[in-house]
């Protein structure tokens, strides 16, 4: 089980307190996006083998979404950071 540090609660808590939210930093422009951009946004993913930026939600804690960089080969968490912040450099 992963131990995940919630950047809002500032506590390391067990994975069962969290819900996974998939790849982070996916964006689209709702008013101007083409079919291809919508397709990409909705369905296509990097599915990175290595360090992946992803979303988690502290579902039974503070309830807030945040982001996390995790190595998908070792499952080791590199860093967690608040929603809206950009991915920390050198991760």
């Amino acid at each position: 089980m992963l131990l995940i540090r919630c950047p809002y609660c500032e506590m390391e808590r067990p994975e069962i307190e969290f819900k996974y939210g998939g790849e982070a930093h996916l964006t689209r422009e709702p008013k101007t996006a083409t079919d291809e951009e919508w397709t990409d946004f909705l369905y296509f993913r990097d599915n990175t083998r290595g360090e992946l930026a992803e979303r988690w939600r502290h579902a039974v804690g503070c309830g807030r979404f945040f982001n996390c960089v995790r190595d998908t080969v070792s499952d080791k968490i590199v860093v967690t950071y608040k929603a809206g912040e950009s991915r920390p450099a050198a991760t």
Binding site: M1, E15, Y20, T48, R49, E54
Partner: protein, 416 residues
């Protein structure tokens, strides 16, 4: 060497000293007509049917590890075809109809055992969903039937149908032709039969790059055993499809997650069918060795670690103990994870790509084993002719742009 009673008698007289290797292990040639990336069941079946039905034998099947060492050797060997939509019924039904003749086809015992696949219903929503599947399957000529709780218990006597349990059994859907096969034997049988037709199986050969010419078409691969030329490349890499396709600059509608399984210590025969329960999430059968083979859930997060968290296995074992109280003291011997590539609609992708000469067969997610012969058969047709047949045609990557999805997310035997 053809396996037969005469061969067995001859080898017995020689003290079993003369059995040959089951497949050749050649050095890779400089160039092949077709390179398949991934020597699991689907990749080996693709090569076999391309050689047998399309006369293309100049094929290499590459694997970064040993053949059948990925999800082929890690799954719970369930075979069934009770899916909801016509497209799924066509492709899984096609595969299901190939299983009874597969041992004879390959001259290799894949131990196909149509012992029945039963899904327990635990509430009104299960019942109406299962009946919808049963009626849809009947229209498509796929066997599936409704049982009462008492009939389900008669079919699998160790289940608990007491009304007071947390998830009482109110009925079941039974596909009598569902069952299991020996997963390793399927890979070995296809490998042996493909090798006999001239296919080169090259193990411990990891693809590190896909080479393309100025027009963008594929011309070969770089591997840990040197460059290998190819006119066509088929990617059949299951959980590692995304990293392989990224070598050709392609992003995929896939997420790779660990799916867990366990086996118990060997027991005397206690159940003769495959049993699954969607609501409490457990599925189980008993191997010929006596081990209970238990499918657990998938971890929620993307991972390539081939392991998973203990709470997933724990939840499944809690469900097993409730459905089968007789098994509450049984010890588990091993648990493990396989990396499954899951699509947004939980249906596979058997498709051409935007890159000329590059084909992909992936997205079988949590249930690809049952499809091994059919998947290889239709993908061989696609790669050999350049066009999908009627069965494979709906399973394009394009469907995620057109919106013509094949939503089997709620149709799996268990919820993943």
């Amino acid at each position: 060497m053809k396996f037969s009673l005469a061969t067995l008698a001859r080898q017995a007289l020689r003290g079993h000293q003369d059995w040959p290797e089951q497949w050749r292990s050649p050095e890779p040639k400089a160039v092949y007509d077709v390179v398949i990336i991934g020597a699991g069941g689907h990749g080996l079946a693709t090569a076999y049917y391309m050689a047998k039905e399309h006369g293309i034998a100049n094929i290499a099947v590459l694997d970064k590890g040993w053949l059948g060492g990925g999800n082929t050797g890690r799954n719970t060997t369930v075979i069934r075809s009770n899916y909801l939509w016509e497209e799924s019924e066509a492709i899984y039904g096609h595969s299901h109809r190939m299983w009874p003749g597969l041992s004879r086809e390959l001259n290799y015992n894949v131990m196909y055992s149509p012992r029945g696949h039963m899904m327990l219903a635990h509430g009104h929503h299960d019942e109406i969903a299962f009946k919808r599947h049963i009626y849809a399957n009947k229209l498509a000529g796929i066997p599936n039937e409704w049982l009462t709780a008492e009939q389900a218990k008669a079919f699998c006597p160790i289940i608990n149908i007491e009304p007071g349990i947390r998830y009482p059994v109110i009925g079941a859907a039974l596909q009598r032709t569902g069952g299991t096969a020996r997963h390793d034997a399927v890979a070995w049988g296809f490998a042996r039969a493909a090798s006999a037709r001239g296919v080169d199986i090259i193990q411990n050969c990891e693809v590190t790059a896909i080479r393309r010419d100025a027009s963008g078409a594929v011309i070969g691969v770089d591997t840990t055993r040197g460059a290998i030329g190819a006119r066509k490349i088929g990617v059949v890499a299951a959980g590692n499809t995304s990293p392989v396709m990224a070598m050709a600059g392609m992003r995929m509608p896939l997420e790779s997650v660990p799916l867990q399984a366990l086996v118990s210590e060997p027991l005397k025969p206690v159940m003769s069918c495959v049993l699954s329960s969607n609501a409490v999430h457990a599925y189980m059968s008993q191997s010929d060795k006596g081990e209970l083979v238990i499918g657990a859930g998938a971890d929620s997060y993307v991972s390539y670690s081939q392991t998973g968290a203990l709470h997933i296995a724990t939840a499944t074992l809690e469900a097993i103990c409730e459905i089968f109280p007789i098994l509450s003291r049984v010890r588990m011997l091993r648990n493990w994870g396989g990396i499954v590539d899951v699509t947004p609609d939980r249906s596979p992708i058997v498709s051409k790509t935007a890159v000329p000469g590059l084909y992909v067969n992936c997205g079988w997610g949590t249930g690809g084993f049952k499809a091994t012969p059919g998947s290889g058969h239709v993908f061989a047709h696609l790669m050999a002719t350049g066009e999908p047949n009627a069965i494979a045609a709906p399973f394009t990557i394009e469907r995620f742009r057109t919106g013509k999805l094949i939503n089997e997310a709620t149709a799996a035997a268990v919820a993943h």
